[in-house]
């Protein structure tokens, strides 16, 4: 029997999940725009206040509240690239975050570790960073390494540098890192550029991605803005990731929490785009609900799954790559 091709046949191309209708995403987006315009966001550092002011925002120097007009936010969303390349020492391991492609990375910044040899529960050391990176390198389906644990045997003030050195030597996969100051970012870029061989090559294929966290509700602390500004200038991908806790640092209702979460992430994205229009940014979420009886943030809960799926959908609507908690 002959079965000829079917013209214009739509295919599913895989399983998908939508949390919201377009109208519901509009409601959350418009809610965040309204909060950013009328309530504003608290910004700690003067240089970030200057950038917001130069970009057309209304800055109150006394209260450090920045009110961002909707057109500035929407312009920042549009100038954010729709894809982000995360690059490793081994170019075969590079990944491209875009349009619904799904990658997995490890948890970051554990402050405790279970020793794999003795089973002992203890504080992590630098050797654990080396082993975590090596393990991620050897596991087929962990696509990128994030700074797995916070070692206690290196100086706190330069810990980011020590962690990155230990990780990069032990994996060819992309390495994401925490940074807490402009100084960290500059030094990390200097280190990564040695591997790249030249500034031009680093710019073309940055071997480092940063991550920062606004503080809920509605605050951009100095460490976050310093990293956003420096990584934007260097054109390195920067994940702006809020960790709101529904019922504690954001409304108990999930939609209200998303309005706050989205406003915070958009304020960071706006700062990045006002610093260096077109620089790569990633929409992040580790937002979840509080267990109000235990006063604990639950990161293995149905609410976390809903928030992460919702944020993925919002980011897809914005055509900005996403990075969310899960697994």
């Amino acid at each position: 029997m002959k079965r000829n091709l079917q013209a214009g046949r739509p295919t599913s191309g895989g399983l998908s999940l939508n949390v919201f209708t377009d109208a519901e995403i509009d409601d959350i987006h418009l809610g965040s725009l309204e909060i950013l315009e009328r309530t504003g966001i608290w910004v700690e550092a003067d240089d970030a206040l200057d950038i917001f002011a130069d970009g057309g925002c209304i800055v109150d120097r006394e209260t450090r509240m920045v009110r961002i007009p909707p057109y500035v936010v929407e312009d920042a969303i549009r100038s954010s690239p729709p894809k982000s390349f995360l690059c490793g020492r081994d170019p075969d391991m590079d990944i491209v975050l875009e349009a619904g492609r799904v990658y997995v990375s490890n948890f970051d910044e554990g402050i405790m570790i279970v020793d794999s040899r003795s089973g002992e529960y203890r504080h992590p050391v630098l050797q654990d960073v080396r082993e975590a990176a090596r393990l991620v390198d050897g596991l087929s389906d962990i696509d990128a390494y994030e700074s797995a644990v916070h070692p206690t045997d290196v100086p706190e003030v330069t810990a980011s540098l020590h962690k990155w050195e230990a990780a990069i030597a032990n994996t060819g996969k992309p390495v994401g890192t925490e940074a807490t100051s402009a100084y960290d970012v500059k030094k990390l870029i200097e280190m990564a550029t040695v591997i790249s061989g030249s500034d031009d090559e680093f710019r073309r294929r940055p071997l480092i991605g940063f991550g920062v966290c606004p503080v809920s509700p509605l605050k951009l602390p100095r460490d976050a803005t310093e990293v956003i500004i420096e990584s934007s200038r260097a054109w390195c991908p920067d994940t702006i990731l809020s960790m709101a806790m529904a019922g504690g640092s954001s409304p108990v209702t999930l939609a209200g929490t998303l309005v706050v979460h989205n406003a915070e992430v958009l304020s960071g994205i706006t700062l990045a785009q006002l610093t260096e229009r077109g620089c790569p940014v990633i929409y992040g979420s580790s937002t979840t609900a509080m267990d109000l009886r235990l006063a604990a943030a639950c990161v293995g809960s149905p609410e976390l799954a809903l928030f992460s799926a919702a944020c993925a959908q919002i980011a897809r609507r914005y055509l900005i790559p996403s990075f969310v908690a899960g697994l």
Binding site: S84, V102, N106, A148, P155, I168, S308, L327
Partner: protein, 139 residues
């Protein structure tokens, strides 16, 4: 399934406080299965397999067909999860998932060789850190 580009959290226990290498090995396996599910079900002439279904009919089986050999590697295959029946599992030592995952983690850490970092590059990076430690007064 919502199309998040990067999902992080593998290897984490205790609501984000603690990292566990054995958990990371398990999560690697779960990630592979999730990616498998995200892939969905391809529907085309070959996968619909109408001719094979007609040929095998009601009393044959599909084990020895060319298509089975060709596509068998597309099916999910666990490494630390154990699909054996109880008797077979017992005869292999009755290890649980946590034990197997931790053993696999140690095996990878001890034997896996990442792409080597050039010694001169490593030395320069070390130099930058030592200078930073000195600058910050923590050397």
């Amino acid at each position: 399934m919502a199309g998040a580009n990067q999902i992080y959290g593998a290897g984490m226990i205790e609501s984000g406080v603690t990292f566990d290498f054995g958990q990371l090995v398990m999560d690697n396996e779960f990630a592979r299965m999730i990616k498998h599910v995200v892939g969905g079900i391809a529907v085309n002439e070959e996968t619909l397999a109408l001719e094979d279904i007609a040929k095998v009919g009601a009393f044959g089986d599909f084990l020895s067909l060319d298509a089975t050999l060709k596509h068998m590697r597309e099916l999910s295959q666990p490494t630390v999860l154990d699909r054996r029946v109880r008797e077979d599992w017992e005869s292999l030592g009755s290890t649980d998932l946590a034990q197997r995952s931790r053993a696999r983690a140690l095996e990878i850490i001890e034997t896996h060789q990442p792409v080597p970092l050039d010694a001169d590059v490593a030395k320069q990076i070390r130099g930058i850190i030592e200078a930073a430690d000195k600058e910050k007064g923590v050397a």
